[in-house]
């Protein structure tokens, strides 16, 4: 793996919180008056005129959270929740109206903060006329990797993200999955302490998703802090130590996954296999919820006692246990209730979508 440079090793980070977000606000102005400052003055002095000339979108409203050193932190929320906006402020790409963010105790956009951070934007686009190697050399030069180390590092990185074969191809010929991987490569090249990823898993096929998840897990093992955003629950479930759930620009929940799932920890999902008639009989008798799925039957048990009882019955009747797993869809439900989008049909849909994702 990539060696930690002495400078980074000897660095004293001080606080345990790598990122502090405090009462962050950002309003976008669109329309005839896209220039923030001009329109802000106009909104203050002549709101009626300003309304005609421009539109305001409050993307982030009073957001606060912290990310601790060494954890994988998920920023979760439906599309339009303000995740990308928050991350862009963090990267010094846009400026907040109110509140503040600190990375390693420094302002976003300062060299001190940027030196220690790697960023993967959402839906990355690239200099499509460049080859992977040329692009990474540019990144290496910008991040100040010494010239003599560059070649070695670039090749290590390309290997790590599985792009060795595509080194010589121009980026315009890359598939979406490959672009995501070269995006990850450019974020990780300078061996940053903090890695910020905006929707790193969206738009990828199951294999690609798994590969990227493995890379993210690897980062944690190396002791790095990872912050990533997602609107897909299963990603967060599989990866994160802690999550913040955002909706409409503000925080709805923050905490560890265990905390989040505590109430439902007893709910299990049991899949049984066996003779058709026996399964049907059991389904009929069983007081909890259950359903046939093809040759099998799935049961939901709400407590440990219920689970044991069902299992005993099933084994007595000669059925075999296909699988037994905690029913994690509760995160989905929490998400729905936190983001205020409780809607039977939609939650049903996303549950089946989640199942698809799980089947990878």
């Amino acid at each position: 793996m990539i060696s930690v440079t002495p400078a980074q090793k000897s660095e004293k980070e001080g606080s345990e919180n790598i990122i502090n977000v405090n009462n962050l606000h950002k309003t976008f102005v669109t329309g005839f008056l896209p220039y923030g400052r001009v329109s802000r003055v106009l909104w203050k002095t002549w709101p009626r005129g300003a309304k005609v000339l421009s539109n305001r979108v409050e993307a982030v409203k009073g957001l606060s959270f912290s990310v601790r050193r060494g954890e994988i932190f998920g920023l979760l929320g439906p599309n339009g929740a303000g995740k990308t906006t928050t991350l862009k402020i963090m990267m010094g790409l846009i400026f907040q109206d109110k509140g503040e963010i600190q990375l390693f105790g420094h302002k976003p956009g300062s060299l001190q903060a940027k030196k220690r951070t790697g960023f993967l934007p959402e839906n990355p686009y690239f200099y499509d006329y460049l080859r992977a190697e040329e692009f990474l050399s540019l990144v290496a030069a910008l991040t100040g990797i010494p010239r003599r180390e560059r070649k070695k590092r670039i090749h290590e990185m390309l290997k790590r993200v599985g792009l060795e074969e595509a080194v010589d191809r121009p980026l315009r010929k890359y598939s979406k999955g490959m672009l995501q991987r070269i995006g990850l490569a450019q974020a990780l090249l300078c061996d940053p302490l903090l890695v910020v990823l905006d929707e790193p898993l969206s738009g990828l096929d199951p294999v690609g998703r798994k590969e990227i998840r493995d890379i993210i897990r690897g980062l944690k093992k190396e002791g790095k802090t990872v912050l990533f955003s997602s609107h897909i629950l299963s990603d967060v479930e599989m990866l994160c130590d802690r999550v913040a759930i955002m909706s409409k620009g503000s925080l709805r929940h923050i905490g560890s996954l265990d905390e989040l799932l505590k109430d439902d920890s007893g709910t299990m999902e049991m899949v049984l296999n066996g003779k058709k008639e026996v399964l049907d009989e059991l389904l009929e008798k069983w007081e909890g919820s259950g359903e046939r799925i093809g040759e099998k039957a799935r049961f939901i048990t709400e407590s440990a006692e219920e689970k044991d009882r069902l299992l005993k019955k099933a084994l007595e009747k000669g059925l075999s246990l296909e699988s037994l797993a905690p029913r994690r869809s509760s995160l989905e439900e929490i998400f729905m209730s936190k983001t205020g989008t409780i809607d039977e049909k939609r939650s049903g849909e996303s549950q089946s979508k989640k199942k698809d994702e799980k089947e990878e």
Binding site: K88, M91, L93, P124, Y125, F126, D128, L130, V139, T143
Partner: protein, 262 residues
Amino acid sequence: MRKISAIAVNTFREAIRNKILYALLFFAVALIMASIVVARLSLHEEIRVIEDLGLAATSLFSVLIAVFVGVNLVYKELERKTVFFIIPKPIYRWEFLWGKLIGTSLTLAVLVGFMALVFFGVLMIMGGAVRVVLLKAIWLYYVEVLVISTVALFFSSFSSPFLSGLFTILVFVVGRLTPDIEMFIPRMGDEWLKTFTQAVMYCIPDLNLFNVSGALVAGEWVSIHGEFVTWLYVGKATAYGLIYGGIVMFLAMVVFRRRDFV
């Protein structure tokens, strides 16, 4: 400095891998070649015609290329969202801007140099000579396109490529017409209009200084046909261009410092 040069090299690479640039270059070369035909038509003035036409073609296409490259520079990075990779890297925003400018200057140097070589080749085939004054003229055109690229860069740091291109070309045309417009100002009736025009002319660079193929500049006759373009003149014009370009870059840096990349 290493970071600026990395961005500059990338800008250069992007420019020379752009097909539109080659189309422009092709037309420039075609026009320079065509000067042979036109020269034949003029009796006894062949060399003079080739010199004038060759310089004019070089200048025109250099300006077009400078506008094209200049306005696309920053805008493309924003539109294709490649800034999202560059800005989060440990560089200052102004380093990005200067990298872009230096990359453009490099590109323009290569292209202007190439056009000059074709021009000199044609000239020599037709029996002319590459006089020092021609080199001076080409150099001044190069300084002119540098000024134009800073203007293009400035506009494109907050405006769309179409508007930036339009404004930049406007600055070029008005800049070239500076002496004519200034001559016209005293004859304007309205005091306000006078003041306004004067203010505008104060902001727009006097590009006529860089166009030495036979013109009255600041009461001094400069022409490539006599050896009137002194080194002092070249030095002064260059200094003027660099100072003007520097001021425009400073303004672009101010605009760039706090802008949102959305």
